[in-house]
């Protein structure tokens, strides 16, 4: 929800970044305020996923220029784990499997790392168990997934639900969901979207990275951005997503190339 005078959560200015010496982000600008939901769309290879990884602090991505402020502080100074503890959350497109580590233990360690950072009480196994069972309801997840190894043998939909469960526990200020809709059938998509909607508050912000408009039927964005060649070339409302669904990306790219004003 767009509100006047709400706090700036994320401010990205002229961000450039390389992966293995190849420049992927080429001057990205993005401002996200508290309470807002942004969608970043764009063709394959436009830099959407790179953008999410850079913001979350993946060590393989080198920031070469520009700045990123998160709640007024320089985010790029922080290691990935400190960004997470500060309230930046990335839901992975392909969550990793960690055999031998129980999901419940993993969630607790992660939760307590955030609690500690916030100066709040860390929970023991017993109290955490109670908390996590409440949160399971957000994504309609069966408690049997808690005792299994992290994501091991989970279906695509179960992995994505587990990501949103982590989001529910960590209560991030900025959640970046990287193609959370990919590989989901319509029922799973509804459950995951419903979970995200429950977690969206006036104090936090969500950035959705997606290929498809259909996710935006369930999580309605305040802004839709089109990314191309490492930059945002157009920003609009949710109607822009419908237009993209209808007409594809070419017209945006052509208008952008022709110098039509952005947003």
């Amino acid at each position: 929800m767009i509100r006047e005078n709400s706090d700036v959560v994320l401010s990205v200015k002229d961000l450039t970044a390389d992966v293995e010496g190849v420049q992927i982000l080429k001057g990205l600008n993005l401002t996200v305020n508290a309470g807002e939901i942004h969608a970043i769309m764009g063709p394959n290879g436009s830099g959407k996923s790179t953008c999410s990884k850079v913001l979350a602090g993946h060590p393989d991505y080198d920031v070469t220029g520009g700045s990123v402020e998160f709640q007024g502080n320089d985010l790029l100074q922080l290691e990935a784990e400190d960004r997470a503890r500060s309230g930046v959350f990335l839901a992975f497109q392909y969550p990793l499997e960690i055999p031998g580590v129980s999901n419940l233990d993993f969630l607790r360690v992660s939760y307590n790392a955030r609690q500690k950072h916030l100066g709040r009480e860390e929970l023991d196994a017993f109290d955490f168990d109670e908390l996590v069972r409440e949160k399971l309801d957000v994504v309609k997840m069966d408690s049997k997934f808690l005792t299994r190894s992290v994501n091991e043998g989970f279906s695509g939909g179960e992995k994505k639900r587990n990501e949103i469960l982590q989001m529910a526990l960590l209560e991030p200020t900025l959640a970046i969901l990287d193609e959370t809709d990919s590989g989901l059938d319509i029922d799973a998509l509804k459950i995951v979207s419903n979970g995200v909607n429950q977690l969206a508050t006036p104090d936090n912000a969500v950035v959705l990275i997606t290929h498809y408009q259909r996710l935006l039927n369930y999580i309605v964005p305040d802004y839709v951005h089109v990314m191309e060649k490492g930059r945002i070339i157009r920003t609009g409302t949710k109607d822009l997503a419908f237009e993209l669904e209808e007409r594809g990306y070419d017209w945006v790219l052509q208008e952008s190339a022709a110098g039509v004003a952005v947003s």
Binding site: P59, A80, E81, F92, I98, P99, S110
Partner: protein, 462 residues
């Protein structure tokens, strides 16, 4: 008794080297104990004398393997030739239960046989809780064993096998053995602990632990064969374990090698499986400066099942080598093999997995996977699947991977607030967990989880 084995000078001429390696091997038999010193049944003594004589002459015709031998291509035994191994003169009485406290498994209370430098140590053993109709004993106490003399004559040293040299050395030298016998239709599910203790000291001793496991038809047994040391220094453990799984028997074997990192250990496991039998081996290899496990399984009957899982965790200048063989003979056999190694420091892991499927063994289903995690740029891994398949209607798969920690996996954990170092430790643990979690003894799973945590310098386990 202490006999010095002089260290040979290593000349450059090949044939002299060979002669020296032969001399060295033969000299190792001088460290053996005397059979007639012990109170064997007369028939058993006779059997032992016969096989000892044969093995001694075999040893005299052999020499220490060198890297020129195909089977020892990656494992250089030259450092052993520098050693003066001696016969153990430390009596078991000098070791107390307190010395073994960290090795004792709570799950095997009342079912523990302890051998010190290959000799049975009754004071350290507990046999009060053995299953009925199951005998776990040593070679001098065979009263409870039915037809003991005949059983020993039939089964001891009666298996075929690929590895000859160190097997013959053991046979020429052992003076005691662990004997486990499970009668027909007996289900002895609770694990037995066979704890082999070496005395590590400045005087490097050589010992020849020996095990004979016989599971009669339709029986079930689980045992932990465990190699440890008390004291500091080096030693050479040259073990042989012979296992017989009769028709429809089910054997769960946990082989735990937690030697000193200074130790030399060459171990042989040879298994004969009759029709419809099931054999599982979980081999955990942690110690040793030079370690070699020769694991040879012969499926003699139809529809037999073999599971060979292994985990090697090495660092420093350790070398750990597993050479496995699964020899099929009849139709409908299956085997499933997952071997993993985590290699840090300058350590070197070797895996050679041989599977032979002759024409008669149609409808075989053999799967082999060797996965290696290399934590250091100085580590080394050699892996070699070796499938020899003649039968035409079989399913045989194999795979080998060598990888470092995946930065995407580390990042996933970091992105959940877990710091990079802990994330790495967690992933190393996760790599090992697939094998650790299958161990049939819970306390061993905990011990190994802690070991992995220690190896990675982590103070926590999951």
């Amino acid at each position: 008794m202490t006999i010095q084995v002089s260290s040979p000078n290593l000349p450059t001429n090949g044939s002299t080297v060979k002669a020296d390696r032969a001399t060295y091997l033969s000299a190792l038999t001088d460290c053996r104990g005397i059979l007639t010193d012990k109170a064997f049944q007369p028939e058993v003594l006779s059997t032992l004398q016969t096989i000892r004589t044969q093995a001694t002459s075999e040893v005299r015709s052999l020499s220490m393997p060198s890297k020129r031998d195909e089977e020892w291509r990656f494992t250089d035994l030259s450092p052993m030739l520098e050693m003066d191994f001696q016969s153990p003169d430390v009596m078991s009485s000098s070791i107390t239960l307190d010395d073994l406290a960290s090795f004792v498994l709570p799950e095997t209370s009342g079912r523990r046989l302890v051998f010190v430098n290959g000799q049975y140590a009754p004071d350290l053993s507990e046999t009060s809780n053995m299953a009925a109709d199951m005998v776990a004993t040593n070679l001098t106490q065979l009263e409870a064993l039915p037809n003991s003399a005949e059983l020993i004559a039939t089964y001891l040293n009666s298996q075929e096998g690929l590895e000859k040299t160190f097997t013959a050395l053991n046979t020429s030298s052992f003076t005691d053995a662990a004997i486990v016998y499970v009668g027909k239709n007996v289900a002895a599910e609770l694990p037995i602990h066979l704890l082999f203790v070496s005395t590590a000291s400045e005087q490097a001793v050589i010992s020849h632990p020996r095990c004979l496991i016989i599971a009669e038809a339709n029986s079930e047994v689980s045992f932990v064969e465990d190699y440890v040391a008390v004291g500091d220094g080096t030693y050479f453990t040259n073990s042989v374990t012979e296992i017989w799984a009769k028709e429809n028997a089910r054997i769960t074997h946990t082989r735990l090698q937690r030697d000193r990192p200074t130790a030399f250990h060459i171990g042989k496991t040879v298994v004969s499986q009759a029709k419809a039998s099931h054999y599982t081996c979980n081999a955990i290899n942690l110690g040793g400066k030079i370690f070699r496990h020769n694991l040879e399984v012969f499926q003699a009957g139809e529809a037999t099942e073999t599971v060979l899982d292994g985990l090697t965790l090495i660092t420093g200048d350790q070398l750990a080598d597993t050479h496995s063989l699964i020899q099929y003979a009849k139709p409908h056999g299956t085997s499933h093999q997952v071997y993993k190694a985590i290699v840090d420091g300058h350590a070197h892991s070797v895996f050679n997995g041989k599977v032979t499927v002759p024409t008669a063994a149609q409808l075989t289903n053999a799967a082999q996977l060797n996965r290696n995690l290399l934590l250091s740029p100085k580590g080394r891994i050699d892996t070699k699947p070796q499938l020899e398949i003649v039968a035409d209607n079989v399913k045989c798969t194999h795979g080998a991977t060598v990888s470092q920690l995946d930065s995407d996996e580390v990042f996933y954990l970091q992105s959940r607030g877990i710091d990079a170092e802990r994330a790495q430790n967690l992933l190393i643990y996760a790599f090992a967990a697939e094998i650790i979690q299958n161990l049939p003894v819970p306390s061993l799973r905990d011990t190994l989880s802690r070991f992995v945590a220690t190896m990675t310098g982590s103070s926590t386990t999951f």
